[in-house]
Symmetry: C2
DNA sequence: TACTTTTATCGTCGATTTACGATTGCAAAT
DNA sequence: ATTTGCAATCGTAAATCGACGATAAAAGTA
């Protein structure tokens, strides 16, 4: 249906893109995994585990916070970072909805494009 | 570049980041959804559905192809794009593995960070 | 107060992304 | 062979990203 161009993308598309973008860097994937394993929690410990400088890690944490995947609470002189369960619930829903629309490789070749 | 702390990131982390990055733009999310709905299939039709120029859409398709989520087969003068089921299977596994590590909001507050 | 520790922010740099119009290439039709 | 139509690529410009060192801010300690 050759309709007119859409002014914007849907809210779900933009939210999903935002979360996916936050996970679109190996360092940020590594950070959330480290936080999930509870092996580390404080920014300084993350720096020790990652091949990045302190300022770069802090920047990645800022982006993960902006995406709602991580939250940090001040604990004295340091900051304790942990995963935001609510944010991950949203991410689960968004990715789940998208993947539900996508093809399953039931048929081996299954291309059958057009 | 001058990184000398630990090893780099795992293969899974890099693969996941690559797929997430490909989905990290609303236009690319919209494209795969349009392809999934089978409403459109050809580049030109995608252009009509999106608020982007032909060259920009082609560029997004190229990135989705590079990420293994889309494949295009030449069909006469036009190109028929379709989702790559194998690529989506990989994406499912990568995201599934990551989400399996992430917290579920079972416990309401559950922060209990440190 | 002064000092230390920890993290956030600033400023900068190069690389990449995003977008576009214009051009090229390719396959079918004339 | 020429024309037509669609898609990929080129070239370019603005914006963003990713990284770093340096510096500031905040909190505890001496």
């Amino acid at each position: 249906m050759a309709s007119h161009k859409r002014e914007h993308f849907t809210a779900a598309e933009q939210q999903l893109a935002a979360v996916a973008k936050a996970l679109g860097h190996p360092a940020r994937v590594a950070i959330v995994r480290l936080l999930a394993q509870r092996r580390v929690c404080v920014c300084g410990e993350l720096v020790l585990e990652l091949p990045l400088s302190q300022s770069t890690v802090s920047q990645h944490l800022k982006e993960l916070k902006a995406a709602g995947l991580v939250q940090g609470e001040v604990d004295g002189p340091r900051v304790c970072y942990c995963l935001d369960a609510a944010g991950w619930a949203v991410a689960r829903r968004l990715f789940g909805d998208l993947l539900a629309e996508m093809p399953v490789a039931a048929a081996p070749d299954a291309a059958g494009c057009c």
